[in-house]
């Protein structure tokens, strides 16, 4: 399992956000496959030299977003990304709220709604092409 | 176990001074004994030749050769007392190791008692031993006439104990946190007065009683101050 997490304390994102987003990115890019086990909280905390609670918080965040599921005693495992009913409705709502914030920011920058849509489409396309580049 | 470890540490720290005092006393003491078989006495208890038996027996001191060693004995004792108190009670402030010493599972009183024990042991094992050696030598090995009486050894013990009085006074002065020209001066003034009053009585019992009282008067506030001081 090729999971490489890097953190930069003192940067603008809280540490648990950095960890969660790196892991979710790894999942999205296919570096972590469904069923893969995430490193134990203690081990990752020791490696990164951070509070284990921060790692736990990151894993919790990922679990709430539907990327992983934790089984007491065994560890935390990557979930199959295919949608599963109303749990994902909540996730979609959360995603929607996040997108709203981004929309507000975009509009405030002075972008017209059309330009904003164009901008979003471009980003999605770029993300997918990167995924294709890295994994077969 | 922890008390032993602490005692070992305190003794080890006092050792250089203790050995130095013992060494100086040994060298100069023997030198005086061997090279100066003089009858003069350097004490205020000087007896003139007309003193009769009754008066003599009331006095602690008798003219004897070994009494000439008394002056350096007193001087070294006083110096050792001062040195040990500085090492034990002032030096940690200088090296800022009080927190290291005191934040432990041991009461401050215990630390205090261990320090006192180490100091007393230092006196006993060095100066008192060398003095005893000098005394025994002058009684058995040297060729003095008349040989010194046993109570001259007591005289030496009395002089050595003055060193402990200075030890307590100097320690108290170190531990007090007042300005040097106020409360801190008290132990210094007291020790001068005490030295005078300790020498004043003419019977051994009273001499030692005065010395004991002086030590108590200094040791009790020292203990209190040490217990409560914020380091």
């Amino acid at each position: 399992m090729a999971l490489w997490v890097q953190i930069s304390p003192g940067s603008k994102d809280p540490l648990y956000v950095q960890i969660a987003s790196q892991i979710s990115r790894a999942i999205a890019l296919g570096h972590l496959r469904p069923g893969d086990k995430l490193p134990p909280v203690r081990k990752l905390a020791e490696e990164l030299v951070i509070n284990p609670n921060t790692v736990a918080r990151a894993y919790l965040e990922l679990e709430q977003q539907g990327f992983v599921a934790s089984k007491t005693g065994s560890g935390t495992f990557v979930l199959d990304p295919t949608l599963q009913d109303d749990k994902d409705l909540a996730q979609l709502n959360l995603l929607g709220q996040r997108i709203d914030t981004l929309i507000a920011q975009g509009l405030n920058l002075g972008l017209t709604p059309e330009k904003l849509i164009e901008f979003f489409e471009g980003r999605v396309r770029r993300f997918l092409s990167e995924q294709n580049k890295r994994s077969p | 176990m922890k008390y032993l470890a602490l005692l070992r540490k305190e003794i080890r720290e006092c050792l250089p001074w203790v050995l130095l005092a013992a060494g100086i006393l040994f060298v100069f003491g023997f030198q005086m004994l061997l090279n100066n078989p003089i009858q003069s006495i350097i004490f205020p208890y000087h007896l003139d030749d007309q003193a009769n038996e009754t008066i003599e027996s009331a006095y602690l001191f008798r003219p004897s050769t070994v009494a000439s060693v008394g002056s350096i004995l007193l001087f070294i004792s006083l110096c050792l007392g001062a040195a040990l108190s500085i090492r034990q009670f002032w030096f940690p402030s200088f090296t800022r190791t009080w927190a290291f010493l005191l934040h432990r599972n041991i009461t401050r009183t215990a630390v205090f008692l261990v320090k006192i024990t180490a100091a007393v042991l230092g006196f006993v094992l060095s100066i008192l031993s060398i003095w005893t050696l000098l005394f025994l030598y002058s009684v058995f090995a040297a060729d003095y006439s008349p040989p010194p009486m046993p109570h001259v050894w007591l005289e030496g013990l009395f002089l050595i104990s003055q060193g402990l009085v200075v030890y307590f006074a100097s320690s108290l002065s170190s531990v007090l946190t007042a300005k040097w020209y106020t409360t801190r001066l008290f132990p210094v003034i007291f020790v001068f007065m005490s030295l005078y009053f300790c020498f004043y009585p003419k019977t051994p019992a009273l001499n030692f009683l005065c010395t004991g009282l002086s030590m108590l008067i200094l040791a009790l506030p020292l203990w209190q101050e040490f217990r409560n001081r914020q380091f």
């Binding site: 003192g10 809280p14 648990y16 905390a45 | 090296t95 914020q230």
Partner: protein, 307 residues
């Protein structure tokens, strides 16, 4: 018995007429890594010394595991590890002699192997005398001595002041190693904010003896935010911005830091004044500096986080 390992109640300390600490109320729960932040002279060291009973308070009191700080029983002290900056150890001792000395006080708790491993890791020979060690090496020995005694509560007062990055990292590793064990609590003050961010669960910010924030690290990070505004004209009603603690204005541009203000309120205010707004990312250092910032900011807003 509550779940707090450390508590202070209106803890106050005056040096002559100057308040070093002013009615400090702190609670450190068990199992927490609690970071004390503050500028130099803010009162962090005073607070720690009062908690450990090394200083007497002018008013108020502190308790450790329910015991009053001014009379901590010796048995409790054996469960508390204490490291301060300077790492002053007896200079004449060798590392081995120090180990024997320390071991005698913790006969049941001492982890001989761990101490040896740490010395190995630091590449320090037990035969070396403390006086031959550099500041960093002395700090390493102090860390090993303290952690090998397996403390339940570790209190550190700016242990990495003046030390290089490698030693700072080793202290962090030591802290992470300790937290992994059951029921350990750490209270530490540090001036390296990125280190605090790495290990702290909760932080308290003390400024001139007064507690200005006492919350989780996440709350602190989330609630102090900076925005860049561009107004149509230079006349900017800065004072009406809710939650403002710091601002910088350059003609029509305004950079403002706010505290505990919901994002919608910011955008609403910007809309009302026809300003463009953009969030500016802040590092924890930026947040700390502006939160404990110049006097003007404090006059505008005196803020305490909910516990």
């Amino acid at each position: 018995m509550n779940d707090f390992v450390l508590q202070t109640f209106q803890l106050t300390k005056y040096y002559h007429k100057t308040p070093a600490l002013d009615h400090l109320n702190l609670c450190v729960p068990k199992g927490c890594v609690y970071g004390l932040l503050g500028r130099n002279g803010s009162g962090k060291t005073t607070a720690i010394k009062l908690i450990l009973g090394l200083l007497a308070p002018t008013a108020g009191r502190a308790e450790v595991v329910g015991h009053p700080s001014d009379n901590l029983p010796p048995s409790l002290r054996s469960r508390i590890g204490y490291i301060t900056e300077g790492h002053h150890l007896e200079r004449w001792m060798t590392i081995r002699e120090l180990e024997h000395f320390q071991k005698a006080f913790y006969p049941d708790q001492w982890d001989r192997r761990f101490f040896a491993e740490m010395l190995d890791y630091f590449e320090l020979s037990p035969k070396r005398k403390i006086k031959t060690l550099s500041n960093g090496q002395r700090a390493q020995v102090n860390l090993a001595l303290t952690l090998a005694a397996n403390p339940e509560l570790l209190i550190m007062d700016d242990p990495t002041l003046g030390l290089d990055a490698a030693v700072c990292r080793q202290f962090l590793e030591g802290m992470v190693h300790l937290i992994q064990k059951e029921g350990r609590t750490i209270l530490f003050s540090s001036h390296i904010l990125s280190d605090v961010e790495r290990v702290a669960d909760r932080i308290a910010v003390i400024d001139k003896g007064v507690l200005r924030a006492d919350c989780t690290l996440e709350e602190f990070r989330m609630q102090i935010r900076k925005y860049l505004f561009e107004f149509p004209q230079p006349n900017i009603p800065v004072d009406t911005l809710p939650g403002l603690i710091h601002s910088k204005q350059n003609q029509q541009m305004l950079e403002a830091t706010v505290v505990k203000t919901p994002e919608e309120a910011i955008y609403e205010w910007a809309r009302r004044h026809q300003a463009a707004v953009e969030p500016v990312p802040m590092s924890i250092e930026d947040q700390f500096i502006e939160f404990t910032g110049p006097k003007q900011a404090q006059k505008l807003f005196s803020w305490e986080m909910p516990v």
